[in-house]
Amino acid sequence: MRETAHNVEIETQKHFLNFSQVRKWPEFGVIFAFLILFIIFSIFSSKFFTLRNITGILTIVSELGIMAIGVAFLMIAGEFDLSVSSVYALSGFLFVTLANKFNSPLAFIITLAVAAFIGFCNGTITLKAHIPSFVATLGTQLIVRGTLLAVTGGESVSYKSDIIMPTILTRFIGYGFRPSHIWFLVLTLIFSIILTNTRYGNWVFATGGNKAVARAMGVNVNKVKVTNFMLSALMASLSGCIVISRFNLANASFGIGMELEAIASAVIGGTFLTGGYGTIIGVFFGALLMGMMRTGLIMIGAPAYWYQAFVGAILIIAATINLKLRHLEM
């Protein structure tokens, strides 16, 4: 019985891996995996496919996904950003502190500006020091996180200000849906359009695909990279503000390890680690897959700790498939 099922699956895979189809739908793999897991979870847990659970998943996914979009957009330009998790925590803290002192819209704007500055520093350090962004942003990740821990002494602050930004960002709008879900969707569409349908998107692909060619063809590659570093930090910051508006509490240890989840979402979604290729729709489903696994595994009765092991396995599979696809194309 199992034998046959296995064979059928291989058959279908062969059929689907017909290359021109994959080329046209680079998101196909991640959507396929998403649907399979979705069906499995729905079968094994009666509570999985309920509005309450779905919206709950969407809430987590939106916060991770917004960060992942920025990370992926930068990865396509050929650089990494490991500092996003620290920017996320810093932004949450800054937002709460400033909102308590002034008001939330002002706090939000200042927070984003600070994040953009950190992104600018990430880009400038990477380009001027000629060190890999992996190292540069690991450095800034530790600097930002360390500073935050030192300054706050590990203490939390709670949000005691107006409800303007929290309402815009994440307060319930009915049936368990939140504005953050809409933000995630809208940002996915915007970044997707920028990437595939604007001149800037073409430059991002070229910068990540081959920096020397892009430069020779008149693309200002350094500007593209710095801009994308800033966008990555901005998205992480937005994500941090959303989380804090939901929890009403900020702590310096928020989001530790989240940068890896964001990168994993991007890779599962088909973004090349080496840059030059990827889709934002893919990242959307990559993040969705990650968030769904988190709750899905618990609901079907697996201990929460298995989540990481699963993410690891899926990441390896996704990266292997991406590489295979690339060899088919090259």
Binding site: N197, G201, F205, A206, A216, E329, M330
Partner: protein, 255 residues
């Protein structure tokens, strides 16, 4: 006698990389509608010289004139706006991008929808297909990745692209390296086609036999110094090899 006008002129060009002098007082001139062969052994300074002309980096000494005006290029984009374009074996196309995206890279056509500027993908595909077909590349779709193309097809696309954007001076940097015999002939035919349309070409190679059939004038470099300049009618390929090998012009060729 000299009816052709000078298109570009590089005067007393000097360039240092750290303490090493890559170019020393090099003078070259390119006339309208001619093919100039720029020859020299590896490390002679050929690539450095044309990278300066293409705006990749500025010279430390010397001046550049284009169409009679002194020009200062701070980036390849500046040079491209003036109509100077380089086709390089490895530096012209991004492998993991589609043909049409490569074709318009840095010069993408846009359509305006209110304040939003979007890529005109339809125009990109149509114009790209027309242009590459003209230069002998048959592609199923311009959405295919460049990585599936052969070396000859890539050169043809790069040359077609330069022509499409009304290049005035085309720099070919070792365009035949790693090409098969058939592809070599195909590319040389395209170079002729380019010249016929009135565009000047600088053809860089270390192999005289590659450029001899198409060029009418040759400049030889050796360790950053211009060691010779001859017209095709005055020198055989063997004479030119002799100049490169010995590093100096023989007395009979000096005019």
């Amino acid at each position: 006698m000299q009816k052709a006008t000078t298109l570009a002129k590089m005067v007393n060009i000097g360039k240092y990389f750290g303490a090493a002098q890559a170019l020393k007082k090099v003078n070259i001139k390119i006339r309208s509608g001619e093919i100039l062969g720029l020859l020299g052994d590896n490390g002679a300074g050929k690539s450095t010289l044309i990278k300066i002309l293409a705006g990749v980096f500025p010279p430390d000494r010397g001046e550049i004139f284009f169409e009679g005006e002194q020009v200062y290029f701070s980036s390849p984009r500046d040079a491209r706006t003036r109509g100077i374009e380089t086709v390089h074996q490895a530096l012209s196309l991004v492998d993991i991008m589609s043909i049409s995206r490569n074709f318009f890279l840095g010069r993408e056509p846009i359509k305006k929808i209110g304040p939003i500027h979007l890529l005109d993908r339809k125009k990109m595909n149509e114009e790209c297909k027309k242009a590459v077909t003209k230069y002998g590349v048959r592609v199923r779709s311009t959405n295919e990745f460049v990585s599936i193309l052969s070396g000859g097809e890539r050169q043809a696309i790069s040359i077609g692209r330069a022509m499409h954007f009304k290049v005035k001076l085309l720099i070919l940097d070792e365009p035949l390296a790693a090409l098969s015999v058939r592809e070599t002939r195909e590319v040389l035919r395209q170079v002729e086609k380019v010249r016929e349309s009135g565009v000047s070409v600088i053809f860089i190679t270390h192999n005289v036999y590659h450029v001899y059939p198409v060029a009418e004038r040759f400049v030889m470099l050796d360790r950053g110094i211009k060691i010779g300049e001859v017209y095709k009618k005055d020198a055989s390929p063997e004479d030119i090899i002799e100049i490169i090998a010995t590093g100096k012009m023989s007395e009979t060729l000096k005019t």
